[in-house]
Each structure stands twice: as C-alpha cells, then as structure tokens.
C-alpha cells in the first residue's frame, strides 16, 4: 500500500491578517506557519493509522512550495511520513498546485491520495477534486471515516444534514474532514527520525494558472455590541425582530 498525503503550509490561526503591495499580497511579516490543520489532523494522521495497521504501508508527503515549506514538511515527517517530496514552485493557484501533485502521483502509482478538506487560508476545497480529475480517479470529498478491506475502501462522507457511506475500489483520492482521526503531537523519537528521512526537491512541471488574485480586503469592522440586561430578554427579542429583522 502506497499513500500520498498532500500537505500545505498556512499561517497559524491566530496570525494577524494584513496585506502589502497595495493589498495584493498577504503580509507574512512575523507570521508563524503551520501545517494546514485539516491536512495534519485528519489526512496525515489517518494515513499513519493505516500504516500502523499494516507496517508494509509507505507514506509519501507532498508539498508544492518554496524552501520555506521545509520546516512544516519536517514536522509532518516527525509525525510519521516516510519520505517527502517538495515541488519547488510558489504562488500557484489551485489548478497549478493540483497539476504538480498529479504529475508526481502519475510517476509513483499511489493506491491512495489523501488531503485535508480545505486550507484554512484560501478555503478553496479545490485541489483534491482537480487532482482526481487530472488522474481520472474517483474522488470522495469531506470524508469523516475511512476503512480499508483489501483493495476496497468504505468511506463515510459528509452530506447536507447527515452522512453517506460509500464503497470504492482503490486507487482513490479522498479529502479528509473532522472525524477521520484525532490530532497527534510529534514525539522526540519522531523528531530525531525526521531529520534523516528523505526530503526530495523536484522542479515543477509546466502548468498554467487559471486564476489570479487581483486584491485582498478586510471586512468592515463591527459597530460594537449592544448589551441588553439579563432581566429584560423581551428587549432582545424586540431588537432582533424590529431592528435586526432576523426573527
């Protein structure tokens, strides 16, 4: 069993969101970078669990990014990946990133490709579907459970107001959602082992961008909270009905 886990680098949740270059670029000054939580907690940890159940499993990590991704890639290796591939390309759109991942996947014949349901910065939820289409593979999005029985996977996925259980033969691309696995903390042994695990840097395949960011902006600031006395809930109901018009 060979699994490819896609890892992206995102600003830490608590990072201040600001922009530079006339609001066209994210201001990375002083920002701490983390592995995208959906990639780490759900996709990577589930892959590690599958390897624990079957030690013959090989986990490759892939990141499309510059050398500043290496720190988060090492952390992912410390959690349990076997080796990592970084495609040396920056500032691509979702399609550009998917093209690079699909290229690597074509050369390595993975049984499973896992990624998080979306990145917490661009919130695209797009790369997984694109990779699946470029490889002409089935795609199960927003998976909350994943079980393997030989070469068949039973996957539970989120649907509006509930869930759906489906079955698919490998290979398959799966985007991972809460429920797949529980977050882990890398231990000292993992961190030491990660230092010697291979991190291969490859040059990108040619890819076209289909979109570009023209500008960023921040939402207007809130006017401030209107407090209502706890003994006067009628007043809150009146405000919601007459002023906010939401009930």
């Amino acid at each position: 069993m060979k699994i490819l886990v896609c890892i992206s680098k995102t600003p830490d949740t608590t990072a201040k969101i600001a922009f530079t270059d006339n609001n066209t670029k994210f201001d990375a000054a002083g920002v701490q970078w983390i592995i995208n939580p959906n990639d780490e907690y759900y996709a990577l940890v589930r892959a590690i669990e599958l390897k624990e159940a079957d030690p013959a499993t090989i986990i490759h990590l892939i990141n499309v990014g510059g050398a500043d991704s290496d720190a988060i890639i090492r952390k992912a290796l410390a959690l349990g990946g076997d080796e990592a591939i970084r495609v040396n390309a920056e500032n691509l759109d979702s399609f550009g990133i998917a093209t690079q991942i699909a290229q690597v996947a074509k050369e390595n014949n993975y049984d499973l490709i896992f990624l998080g349901k979306e990145t917490i910065d661009y919130n695209g939820s797009a790369v997984g579907g694109m990779v699946a289409e470029l490889l002409d593979l089935p795609y199960i999005s927003l998976a909350t459970k994943f079980e393997l029985n030989g070469t068949t996977a039973t996957v539970t996925r989120e649907i509006e107001g509930g869930e759906e259980v489906c079955e698919v033969s490998l290979p398959v691309v799966v985007s991972c959602n809460k429920g797949m696995a529980e977050q882990r903390i890398p231990n000292m042994r993992g961190i030491m082992a990660a230092r010697t695990k291979p991190l291969k840097v490859v040059e990108p395949a040619v890819s076209d961008a289909l979109t570009e960011v023209a500008a960023f902006s921040l939402p207007p600031a809130k006017a401030g909270v209107k407090l209502v006395d706890a003994d006067n809930v009628q007043e809150l109901v009146r405000l919601l009905h007459e002023e906010a018009k939401v009930i």
């Binding site: 949740t13 907690y41 695209g124 579907g129 289909l210 909270v225 809930v233």
Partner: protein, 320 residues
C-alpha cells in the same frame, strides 16, 4: 454563450434551497452579461422543473440516465462537461455545498476553466471577470480574476438572497453518455434535524458553558421556537456531547446564517473563523470579558441557564 447553473436535488427528489440561491445569482449574472441563463438537472427529480423559471432561468436541461441516479463526482463531471459543451456555456455555477465542492474542481480541471470557490457576491464584469470570495476563514476577502474563457464559480450558501418573480422555464431533455459510477452508495444517514445546518437561516449554538449534554434540552427548545438549526463549539463535539457535524469553526463547518446565537461559547478565534460571516451575532455569556462580545451585534451578560428559558418564552410570545 450562456450561464449554466447546476441544480442540486436531494434524496427526496426536491431542489435544494442552496440551488435556488444559485439560480437567482445565475439569472442576475446572465442579465449582466446579456446571455441566457440555463439550468441543468442530472438526478431524478419529483418537482415541476418548469416552475424554476420564476427564479429567472429560461431553459432547464434535464438529463435522465440510470447511471446518474446516485451522486458520483466523476460520472457527474463528465455529464456536466458534455451539456456545457453542447450548450456553449461560458459560465458554470454551483453551490459551494458538499456536492458543489466535489464537482466544480473536477470540472475546472477537465475544461481547464478557472474556478473561484466560495464566492460571496456577483462578479465584477465591466472590465475583467473578478469574483469576490471569502478567505482566511472569513477574516478577509480576495477578489479573484478568472483568466480563462470558461469560468466556474461556486456560491457560498446564504450569501445571496433568493428572489422569485413570475415566469416558467422550458424543460429540454438532454442526452449524455455516462459511465457506471465507481463509487457505490451503501447507505444514507440523515440527521432528523428539520433544518440542515449549512442551509439554516438561524442557528442556535452551545459551548462548554452548557456543562453537559443533558442540558441541551433548553437549546433544543430555543431552536424549535426560532425554527433554527443547532450547532456547537469544538470541545463540545470532542467530548461527544453533540455529533461532529454540528461542530462549527475553523476545523468544523463554516456557516453564514442571518442569525447566530452563541450560548456559553467563549468566542476563540478558531470558533469565530466558522461563524464570522453570520449577519447578526447574539452572545449569551456570564463572563463580560468573553472575546465573543467583540464580534457580537447583541449580547446578554448572564447565566445561560436562567436567560435561555426566558428567551425561549419571549420568542414564543412574539410568534403568538
């Protein structure tokens, strides 16, 4: 040239509410571009499709094919691509819901058509084709230019108001060749909730301040009085007080209801990331320093166990 709108059908054969939003959005965009707005239905449907004309679409292409009886992103994508090609669609629209999130990226890769997912407004089309989307978990917007001739957009639920006028659509049968799906649906398990969380206009949400699952009855009563869906913070779902699909926030679902009532939730940044696009936020918390008050429109500082039952009673009174 046309705007093609993918119409989502639920298991009962009814059109999803989020599709009505996309139909309205698509009709407005088509008007802006001076091209026809057309719908596309792949799944078996029990509704009168011609009636969807009241949202502004002129034609609805209906595909009836056994292979499409169950949703499969791969098979559906090929079918949509065929209809898009036959009809000369230059803009293809989906809801940014679970199906849209699976289909739009596949179609984008297949057609090499630029995708903006999670749009929150109509595109700017005067010069370029620029679509505003929500990024950084609701903390900012990005205006994204699509540079390809075919453009794909998924619209965030609850970010566009449904408008219905008069009018009927022409329902035109469409033929596609479809493979058999590789993904087999084994079972569907729908929560009994009357209003699915992602589509809900009002949401009542509880945090660790609720103390335990046994206390959720007061929130259920409030939600019922408001015809609202229930949600919760992450520690609540982690402790299995509530099911995972109710967990909202950065690592849970992102929602944008008209009214979000946060009860016994501190308002950590990771929680806000999933709810900060709500139009009106009401916070009930006994701690006046709780960070949620900074993001709220209305608030009550008080013990939720006293405030919530009174609030439910007052709402019932209002509704008569």
């Amino acid at each position: 040239m046309s705007v093609l709108i993918f119409i989502d059908i639920n298991e009962e054969g009814a059109v999803k509410k989020t599709s009505l939003e996309v139909l309205t959005y698509g009709a407005r965009l088509a008007q802006q571009l001076g091209v026809p707005a057309e719908g596309l239905v792949l799944a078996p449907v029990k509704e009168d499709l011609a009636a969807l004309g009241k949202y502004g679409v002129q034609t609805i292409h209906q595909v009836q094919n056994e292979a499409l009886a169950h949703f499969d992103a791969q098979v559906y994508t090929k079918a949509i691509a065929q209809v898009a090609e036959k009809t000369g669609a230059t803009v293809i629209l989906f809801s940014n819901n679970t199906d849209g999130k699976a289909l739009a990226p596949r179609l984008s890769a297949r057609l090499k058509a630029g995708l903006v997912s999670g749009a929150v407004a109509l595109p700017e089309t005067a010069n370029d084709f620029v679509v505003r989307k929500s990024v950084f978990s609701g903390k900012a917007f990005a205006d994204v230019k699509i540079t390809t001739s075919i453009k794909i957009i998924t619209l965030n639920p609850n970010s566009f108001t449904i408008e219905a006028g008069a009018g009927t659509a022409t329902v035109a049968p469409a033929e596609v060749t479809a493979d058999l799906p590789k993904v087999k649906t084994v079972s569907v398990n729908r929560q009994s909730a009357e209003v699915p969380l992602a589509e809900a206009e009002r949401v009542v949400s509880g945090g660790r301040g609720m103390k335990g699952p046994e206390n959720w009855g007061i929130l259920e009563d409030l939600a019922k009085a408001l015809n609202a869906a229930l949600a919760c913070s992450r520690p609540v779902a982690d402790a299995h007080w509530r099911p995972h699909n109710e967990h909202v926030g950065q690592t849970g679902g992102a929602i944008a209801p008209n009214l979000y009532l946060a009860i016994g939730i501190s308002g950590a940044i990771q929680h806000l990331a999933g709810v900060n696009r709500s139009k009106v936020i009401v916070v009930i918390n006994k701690d006046p320093e709780a960070p949620f008050f900074k993001a709220a429109d209305y608030g009550i500082v008080g013990d939720l166990f006293e405030v919530v039952p009174k609030l439910t009673a007052a709402i019932k009174q209002l509704k008569g």
